[in-house]
Amino acid sequence: MEHNEKVIKYKDALLTSMDDALTRFPGTIIMGQGVDDHKGTFGSTTDLAKKHGAHRVFDIPLSEEGNTGIGIGAALNGVYPIQTHIRNDFSLLAMSQIVNTAAKYKYMYGGHFNVPMLIRMIIGRSWGQGAQHSQSLQSLFAHIPGLVVLMPSSADAVLESYNHAVEHYKGPVISIEHRLLYDYSFKSTYGEKDAAKHDPFSSRLVRKGDDVTIVATSIMVIEAQRVADYLAKELDIHCEIIDLHSISHFNKEMIVESVKKTGNLIIADTSWQAYGVCAEISRIICEHDPRMLKGPVVTLGMQPSPCPTTKKLEDLFYPDDYTFTMKIVEMVKGRGHGLSVAKTSLNETYKSFKGPF
C-alpha cells in the first residue's frame, strides 16, 4: 500500500489527537459538556473516559466563564486542559476569561507564567439552527494579542497542530472546528517520514496556480478546492489556494507572494466579512502594496444578518460554490465573459446533513 492512500476522517483525527494527548502526557485532561457521554462530542472524545479514567475526561456543569477560569487555574498548576464548546456561540460566556485572563497571563506578569491549554469550539452550517447556534466567531479571538487561533481544514491539519499545541506550545490555543468537516475523509501523510513539513501554527499552500489567489479558512478551503478543480478542468483558470489555518499567525509572505503573482485575490471565510478574516487579509495587502492587485478583491462570507432558520433564507445567507466560481470567472475574464458555469454545488453536502446536532 502506498503511503498516500491512507485516508482518515476529520473526527477520527480529532479522536486520535485527543487520545494521543492523554496517552503521552499524564497531565492532560478533557473537560467539557458531554465529553464522556455516548455521543462523545460528535465522535471526537468517544470512549476516552473509559480508556483514560473519569478523572481525566469528564463532564462539567453549564458554567462557561467559571469552567474556563478553572481550566486556566489548572493549566497554571501543571495540567494541560482541553476544553470543548459544542457551539462556539457559548464561548461568548467565557470571553472575559479567554481575553482578559488567558490571553494576557504570560505578558501581564512579566513572562513568569504560562497557560498551556486548548479550547476547541465547533462552528457549523445548515443545521437550521438559527441565530444563536450558527456564528463563527474566530475574529473576536484573533483580534486579541496572546491567543493562537486555528481553523484546521483537514485531518492532517488537526493532527499536526493539536499535537504541537499539547507537546510544544505553552500558551492558550483556540481551535475552531467546522462540524461539517467531521464526517469528511482526508488523505493523510501525518507522521510519515516524507510527509510535508508545515509550521503547525501557520498557513499552508494547498494548490498552485497563476490566475487567482484564494485565501480561505476551514470548510471554505474544501469549497475552494472544488471550485479550483472545476475551473482548471472546464475553463482553464488556475487558482492558487492558501489555507490560512492559523488566522492569528498566518503566513503573510505566502499571501503577498501569491497575490504579487496572480494580481487577483478572493477571500473566503466562514463568518461575516466586516471585521473578519476578509477585512484582515485586505489590511495585509493594503499595508504591503495594494497596487499588486489588478482589480477589486472579492470576499465571500455570511450575509450581514443573524442566521435565519428557514432553508430558503439560510441558502441565501451562506455563499454557495456557484457564486464562488462565477466571481472568479468574472475576475479573470471580465464581466461580459459569456462563459457558462455548471450549478453543481457543495450545497448538496450541506443539505444532506440533518442532525440532531
Binding site: Q33, G34, D37, H38, K39, D59, I60, P61, L62, S63, E64, E65, G66, D89, F90, L93, W127, G128, Q129, G130, A131, Q132, H133, Q303, P304, S305, P306, P308, T309, T310, K311, K312, L313, L316, F317, K354, G355, P356, F357
Partner: protein, 307 residues
C-alpha cells in the same frame, strides 16, 4: 373543579398531541430545525400558564413549544414557523428554538442556556418602574441553574424586590448529564440563601396540583412584588433534541420512565384522552395545512429587521 381539571387536561393533551404531530412529520424533513420536545413535561406549562394573565410575561429556553401554546400562542403560526414559512410567528427566521408571540406576551425563547432568566428579571424591573402590575416568569431547566447569570438574576431580583417567578423544570438531565454530577445544590433550598421564597413540587405530571400551588404564588408575587422560585420535578420522555426515544442508551433507566408513565394522566386517563383527541387533532390538522400552504419568506426578508 372537574371543569378546571378538564381544562388543564385538555391543555396538556393538546401540547402532547401537537408535539407528537411534530414527531410524525419530522422524518419528512419539512421541519428543518432542531426540536426539543416537552413530551412528559406538559403539565408544568399548563398548570403555570393557567394562572397568568395575558399581560404577564413569559420567557423560556429552546424547550418552548409547551409554554408557547399554554400562554396562548397561535397554533397556525407555530406550525408555519416550524415549516419555515413567512406566516410563522417569527416569519420563518425563528424555528423551533425561538418561538415567541408578542400578542400574548410570550416574550422569547433562547438557544443559549439560562440567557432568558435575566431577561425575565428585567421585565419585572420594568413592571415595577412603570407600575404595570405584571408578573414575569422565567422558565428554565436544572442545567440552566448552573450558569452564573442565574445567581446574578436571583440576587438582583431579591435586592430590588421584583415580581418575577423563576420556574425550574427539573428533569434531572442536561442533555445526557445527570444532575448529581453537575450540581452541588438543591434549587429550591439554594434560593433561600437570597431570601427568596421557594417551593418544590415533586409531582410534575400533576397539572392540577401545579395549578393550585401556582395560584397562590402568582397572587403573592403580584400583590407583594417579590421574587419566587418554583422547582418542579419532571421527566423528559424523548431524547434531548430530536424525536427519538433513547431509553436504550445507558445514561438513564427505562424503569424510571415506566414509573412516570404510570402516573401520567395523559396516559392513564384513557377516557379523557378519547374525549378530546378528535377535536384537538382537527385543530392540528388545520394548522399543518396552514403551514403547508403558506409561502416561504421572500428573498428580501434575509436582510430585513436587523436594525
Amino acid at each position: 373543579m372537574d371543569a378546571l381539571y378538564e381544562k388543564l387536561f385538555y391543555q396538556s393533551l393538546r401540547i402532547r398531541l401537537v408535539e407528537e404531530k411534530i414527531a410524525e412529520i419530522y422524518p419528512s424533513d419539512k421541519i428543518q430545525s432542531p426540536v426539543h420536545l416537552s413530551i412528559g413535561q406538559e403539565a408544568l406549562a399548563a398548570g403555570i400558564c393557567n394562572n397568568l394573565l395575558v399581560t404577564d410575561m413569559v420567557y423560556t429556553s429552546y424547550r418552548c413549544h409547551a409554554y408557547y401554546l399554554a400562554k396562548g400562542g397561535d397554533l397556525n403560526e407555530m406550525f408555519a414557523e416550524l415549516y419555515g414559512k413567512v406566516t410563522g410567528c417569527g416569519k420563518g427566521k425563528a424555528g423551533s428554538m425561538h418561538l415567541a408571540s408578542k400578542k400574548v406576551n410570550f416574550m422569547g425563547s433562547s438557544a443559549v442556556v439560562a440567557s432568558t432568566i435575566s431577561n425575565a428579571v428585567g421585565s419585572a424591573l420594568a413592571s415595577k418602574i412603570l407600575n404595570k402590575n405584571q408578573v414575569s416568569v422565567a422558565v428554565f431547566g436544572d442545567g440552566a441553574s448552573e450558569e452564573g447569570s442565574y445567581h446574578e438574576s436571583l440576587n438582583f431580583a431579591a435586592a430590588f424586590k421584583l415580581p418575577v417567578i423563576f420556574v425550574c423544570e427539573n428533569n434531572g438531565l442536561a442533555i445526557h448529564s445527570k444532575l448529581e454530577q453537575r450540581h452541588a445544590f438543591v434549587v429550591h433550598e439554594h434560593a433561600k440563601g437570597y431570601g427568596v421564597k421557594s417551593v418544590y413540587i415533586e409531582e410534575g405530571y400533576d397539572f392540577a396540583k401545579i395549578n393550585q400551588v401556582m395560584e397562590g404564588i402568582v397572587k403573592e408575587v403580584r400583590e407583594q412584588s417579590i421574587p419566587y422560585v418554583v422547582e418542579i420535578k419532571t421527566y423528559r420522555y424523548k431524547e434531548h433534541v430530536g424525536i427519538g426515544d433513547d431509553h436504550n442508551v445507558p445514561y438513564r433507566s427505562k424503569d424510571e420512565f415506566e414509573q412516570w408513565k404510570q402516573k401520567d394522566p395523559l396516559i392513564q386517563d384513557a377516557a379523557l384522552v378519547a374525549k378530546f383527541t378528535d377535536e384537538i387533532n382537527k385543530e392540528i390538522e388545520a394548522a399543518v395545512k396552514f403551514a403547508e400552504e403558506s409561502p416561504v419568506p421572500a428573498d428580501e426578508e434575509l436582510l430585513a429587521d436587523i436594525y
